[in-house]
């Protein structure tokens, strides 16, 4: 009796809740589709941070069982980042916005941030802040290169070239760091890293905001 009254008293309730849920879903989708959406960025940053323990475990596994050159140690990290960039590019294609592929950079940022925190835990001190100009741009540059390569006309070949270039760049910086470089060399490395980072950011923004127009194919 009472139940029936309630149903009669609030006739819009049963219809309102699904409508509210649909509205919330639409809003969430809108947030997700928004350029640089915070949800997408956060998800990829968390995924990238989660890749750090995996990369460290793979590196440890390889180092324990094989006498590999030091430069090889960058390959697991770069391959994991390439996989993340591939996932971001696939999502971007599905959403119809190539710029979403830059979410891979958020993943690389999460990866490098967790790595830096691990270093801070192991070596507390202000010296860890130097990694903000050394290792962080290193990972970010690689991911940005992958994102740009995967958004190009021939993503396969471009991604392979980007992987080689990124691995070589990473290995060179790792070798330089292992050689305990002089402060001037360190400053030079940081400057190169940041300049490359700024250049890639410029190229990425130009590509994903103006690419169609400059290619003669504006999306009207």
């Amino acid at each position: 009796m009472r139940m029936r009254r309630t149903g009669r008293g609030f006739p819009g309730l049963r219809e309102g809740i699904p409508a509210a849920l649909r509205d919330a879903g639409t809003r969430a989708a809108a947030i997700l589709r928004r350029p640089g959406g915070p949800v997408l960025t956060a998800v990829f940053a968390a995924a990238g941070a989660g890749l750090y323990p995996a990369a460290a475990a793979i590196n440890r596994f390889l180092a324990d069982r094989f006498a590999l050159p030091f430069a090889v140690s960058v390959l697991p990290e770069e391959l994991l980042k390439l996989g993340m960039a591939g996932a971001a590019a696939a999502l971007a294609r599905r959403l119809g916005d190539p710029g979403k592929g830059l979410a891979a950079v958020a993943g690389a940022t999460g990866f490098a941030a967790l790595e830096n925190l691990a270093y801070l835990g192991a070596f507390p001190g202000a010296g860890v802040f130097l990694r903000l100009g050394w290792s962080l741009p290193l990972h970010v540059n690689g991911a940005a290169l992958f994102a740009l390569a995967l958004a190009s006309r021939r993503p396969g070949a471009a991604a392979a070239a980007a992987l080689l270039a990124s691995a070589a760049y990473h290995a060179a910086f790792n070798a330089a760091a292992a050689a305990a470089p002089a402060p001037l060399v360190t400053a030079g490395g940081v400057a190169i890293n940041l300049v490359v980072c700024a250049g890639l950011a410029f190229a990425a923004r130009l590509r994903f905001a103006w690419g169609g127009i400059l290619d003669g194919k504006p999306r009207l």
Partner: protein, 389 residues
């Protein structure tokens, strides 16, 4: 398709827009990070987080700069920018025209003219979005309020980690230099100068360089000890590398490890005859003889340091030491404006003191007291001696 002139104009526009967009993103990120850094400093000052937590969070916050640089742009932003200069949609039509279309040559030619006209149009400044304005205002407000609070609480602007506990620790450490066992208790009221306790609460004192502060306190301790030794007639203890004077044991060693309290580098101002054999000479960093920790090197090796460590000088004179130390501090504090005069040499000072106190010297002529029994014995003995002879 568009012509070369239109293409060049579009590239220029695109480059300018990208530069502006990147600069805006970086500026917004910088302001937000500065606000976050201020919040972290405030948390440290309130004791909510320690240095490790502060550094970790700051590392995380600064690590977000790639997110600002590589923020996916709005894919329509280029088109919106193009439409601001291409009012008649001529360029847009030319871009959309497929190669081989009948209208393509006409659109291309018209587009070249439109590009020439569009090149003269200055890009219109777009209003900042409401969300961005809110973020900017919030970040600016946080920075202003935080720095104002820091000025009120800590007495200075704070960038980076700050902790009230550390400031208090430094003040207490400075006060320890004056609370050594051999220092007189100010409560005894013996008239010796005591450091001002309010100095540590002075904002200027907090701004002082720690090294300068340690040196100043060490110098004060030197003067303090010397003055006391002079008054009590205590001979100054030998310095490191000097042989202990007869009857004076080496000074007790300062606690090993750490920098030690300021003034520890003087080797202490222990009393003469203090237990020495169990007090080995301090070695290594942080020991009492280590000059690095407390600025003792300056006092030990400086030619006018107040300690007669100059070659050939062995005799110690507390008055001379005190005067030299006083001259040094006076010169440092007042610069060239005021200097201690060189006319009054040590010999002249001693002569003046002798002349001044000579008038107060008591002279009483007292005959030697003669004991009658002894006198009788002596006389009897002399008589006996004379009889034998």
């Amino acid at each position: 398709m568009i012509g070369p002139r239109a293409y060049s104009m579009l590239r220029r526009r695109a480059g300018a827009w990208t530069r502006r967009s990147l600069a805006g993103s970086l500026a917004l990120w910088g302001l937000l990070v500065l606000a976050a850094s201020n919040l972290l400093s405030a948390a440290g000052l309130l004791g909510w987080i320690g240095r490790a937590g502060h550094d970790g969070l700051l590392l995380l916050v600064i690590s977000t700069f790639p997110l600002a640089l590589f923020r996916p742009p709005d894919p329509r932003s280029g088109l919106v920018e193009l439409r601001t200069v291409d009012r008649g949609a001529v360029l847009e039509s030319a871009l959309a025209a497929a190669p081989g279309d009948a209208a393509e040559p006409l659109l291309r030619r018209t587009g070249e003219g439109a590009a020439e006209a569009a090149g003269r149009i200055r890009p219109k400044r777009r209003p900042t979005p409401r969300g961005t304005r809110f973020l900017l205002l919030a970040a600016g407000g946080i920075i202003l309020v935080s720095q104002g609070t820091f000025l009120f609480v800590a007495g200075r602007p704070v960038i980076g980690y700050a902790s009230l506990q550390e400031s208090r620790g430094r003040a207490e450490e400075g006060a320890e230099a004056f609370a050594r066992p051999e220092s007189p208790d100010p409560a005894e009221g013996d008239g010796l100068p005591v450091p001002e306790p309010a100095r540590d609460r002075d904002p200027e004192a907090r701004l002082e360089n720690p090294a300068e502060r340690a040196r100043r306190e060490a110098e004060f301790a030197d003067l303090h000890g010397l003055l006391r030794q002079d008054r009590e007639g205590l001979a100054p203890e030998p310095r490191e590398g000097e042989a202990a004077e007869e009857g004076n044991a080496p000074p007790p060693a300062a606690p090993a490890g750490g920098d030690g309290p300021p003034g520890g580098g003087s080797g202490g101002t222990g009393r003469a005859g203090a237990p020495g054999p169990d007090a080995p000479a301090p070695e290594g960093s942080g020991g009492a003889g280590d000059p690095r920790g407390t600025g003792g090197q300056e006092r030990n090796q400086g030619p006018g340091s107040g300690w007669s460590d100059s070659p050939g000088a062995q005799a110690r004179n507390a008055m001379k030491d005190y005067r030299s130390a006083f001259e040094k501090i006076l010169t440092e504090r007042t610069g060239a404006a005021v200097t201690a005069g060189q006319d009054l040499s040590l010999a002249e000072t001693e002569a003046a003191v002798r002349l001044y106190f000579d008038s107060l010297r008591l002279r009483v002529e007292v005959d030697p007291q003669e004991d009658p029994l002894a006198a009788g014995l002596r006389a009897a003995w002399q008589r006996l001696r004379g009889g034998i002879r």
